[in-house]
């Protein structure tokens, strides 16, 4: 089972990202998934987490994810080195940042950085980075095919917004593969 935890702030679309990914895996990726937010009364701006579990068979365990294959940090102010302890062996933390050097200095092996804001600004004209971060996550994990996510995005957004977000997704996917590989 692949277990992914999303860190962001209320309103940044972390839970939407976890859900888009889960739907992509379930509906278009021939897998099973669970997607859920951290449950609570948090409002816009509060730090929140969301979870996606992906597996080849129906997932029955609904408990929160403690040991992650991937931790996706949408808002770098939420990063703390202690997050490294929550990774499974071989796991990765994906951080939305323009300051690659800062994080490489902390852990070059465990941390991958990606400037999602740049792509989001370029295509959406707004720093909404959740679809960019999904693209980057797929790029480093290949947990499901990127076209499955594109289908899921079509389901989630109205057609014009979906089209832009799919461009964000694909470009993020391509860009991180170029950088990362």
């Amino acid at each position: 089972m692949i277990e992914i935890r999303w860190h962001g702030r209320g309103g940044q679309g972390s839970f939407t990202a976890s859900r888009i990914l889960g739907a992509a895996a379930s509906l278009y990726g021939n897998k099973y998934a669970l997607a859920f937010p951290s449950f609570g009364p948090e409002r816009r701006g509060a730090p929140i987490t969301a979870f996606t579990k992906i597996d080849d068979q129906k997932i029955r365990d609904r408990s929160e994810i403690i040991h992650c294959d991937y931790i996706v940090v949408l808002d770098e102010t939420l990063f703390a080195p202690s997050l490294l302890q929550d990774l499974k062996p071989g796991g990765k933390i994906l951080i939305n940042t323009a300051r690659e050097e800062k994080y490489k200095a902390i852990s070059p092996d465990w941390i991958v950085t990606f400037d999602a804001v740049a792509i989001a600004q370029e295509i959406l004209g707004r720093p909404v980075t959740n679809t960019a971060m999904i693209g980057a996550l797929i790029g480093i994990s290949e947990v499901i095919p990127v076209h499955a996510v594109a289908e899921s995005i079509k389901n989630e957004f109205s057609s014009s917004l979906a089209e832009k977000n799919i461009r964000v997704l694909n470009q993020s996917y391509e860009r991180i593969k170029g950088e990362w590989l």
Binding site: L34, F36, F39, R62, S63
Partner: protein, 399 residues
């Protein structure tokens, strides 16, 4: 039109199930974590996907009261609530079952104040076990959708005519997204016929309903109500089998025993935690331990016979529940023990109180419970009531 697949939350799955059951009237009041159900249904009504009267009532008491009014003229009615809201409608709960109104209600299981908590446990519905409703606890979003449809078939059965409460664990189930298969409207229509009842206000045959009765008659009405709720046990099984035949999914009726056939250690569960227990049971089985999971689906009618049958070969039974009856033990445990007592075979039993106020129940916690039961079966003396995961020292019993 065939089945479609959707990636939805437990709440959304419930809403889809409700839509497919085509209630005439929906009356509901928002409360976390139930809200999404009524939001989705409101959207369905707005889009014209569902032609129902949607009443924006001003309280849960009114929600169920309006549902009863609708049912009393022969309409199919739905409402949904949670926690404090369920308690606020407590008077109406007894009224609806006593009035024999086959209403279906979704309840998002949530802790009760005080202290305030929006998180999940099952004290809300379990504290209302005696209100005359049939109570089913579902495990995942698919079961949630399917049970909305089954619930109407059960409730409206002429020999049952009793309302059904479909319980979903708050957040863990209501807010978790997963894959569900959505049956076609045509198939559901064929399975669930339009609601027909004699128990209604009718201009051809006017009635006086919800009357008083003196001590000379009252008990007979209660007996009748009791018989109907007990009769539901058969109907639940029939409906589940029919549903299985038609849609390919069945849930075992009143209970679902998992790897219990030769199990020596059985953990009894309720609701969505069952999934985690299945995973742990699989792991322990791989280690050669003879463990099983017994999911109670219906708390009313209570699956006494089924529990006796399934635990017949067990050495020890543990009851895991998100509930406590203060000053005694968990209510599910009390009920299970009553059944075990009637089996005529001495089976040790233990009660795990866990997950109150939304505390997470992890795989490790469940492993701990199985180990606890195994040790008890091997003669180690154990407390009968064990609170799981208390975060502090208590110097007291049970910990």
């Amino acid at each position: 039109m065939g089945n479609t697949k959707m990636f939805v939350s437990g709440n959304e799955a419930a809403a889809i199930g409700v839509k497919l059951a085509r209630p005439h009237v929906i009356s509901a009041y928002p409360i976390t974590p139930q809200t999404v159900v009524v939001e989705r249904i409101a959207e369905m009504v707005e889009k014209g996907e569902l032609t129902s009267e949607f009443l924006h009532v001003e309280s849960e008491h009114s929600a169920l009261s309006a549902a009863m009014g609708a049912s009393a003229v022969g309409a199919r009615a739905f409402t949904a609530t949670s926690s404090q809201g369920l308690l606020y409608m407590a008077e109406c709960l007894h009224y609806a079952s006593g009035g024999r109104f086959p209403i279906v209600m979704m309840n998002a299981n949530r802790s009760l104040a005080l202290p305030w908590s929006i998180y999940g446990d099952q004290r809300d519905s379990l504290s209302l076990l005696d209100c005359g409703w049939l109570q089913v606890y579902v495990e995942d979003a698919q079961e949630s959708l399917d049970m909305m449809i089954q619930a109407y078939a059960i409730a409206e059965n002429k020999e049952v005519l009793t309302p059904v409460m479909v319980n979903l664990d708050g957040f863990v189930l209501t807010h978790t997204y997963e894959l569900v298969e959505v049956p076609s409207q045509e198939a559901v229509d064929a399975f669930l016929p339009p609601f027909e009842t004699e128990n209604k206000l009718d201009f051809e045959n006017p009635k006086n309903m919800c009357f008083s009765s003196s001590p000379g008659d009252n008990m007979e009405f209660k007996y009748q109500q009791h018989r109907a709720a007990a009769k539901a046990a058969e109907v639940i099984k029939e409906v589940d089998e029919m549903y299985h035949k038609k849609f390919g999914r069945g849930y075992g009726g009143l209970v679902d025993g998992y790897r219990c056939e030769d199990a020596e250690i059985i953990l009894v569960t309720l609701g969505s935690i069952t999934g985690t227990c299945r995973v742990v049971a699989d792991e322990l089985r791989r280690e050669g331990k003879k463990v099983g999971v017994l999911k109670i689906r219906f708390m009313r009618p209570f699956p006494e016979k089924e529990i006796i049958d399934i635990t017949r070969g067990a050495k020890v039974v543990g009851v895991l529940e998100k509930d406590i009856s203060f000053g005694y033990e968990g209510t599910v445990y009390t009920n299970v023990n009553s059944a075990l007592l009637k089996s005529g075979k001495p089976i040790q039993s233990y009660n795990f109180i866990a997950g109150l106020g939304g505390r997470d129940i992890s795989k490790n916690d469940i492993k701990f419970m199985y180990t606890y039961l195994e040790e008890a079966a091997n003669g180690v003396k154990k407390e009968y009531i064990k609170w799981i995961n208390l975060g502090v020292d208590t110097d007291g019993e049970g910990n």
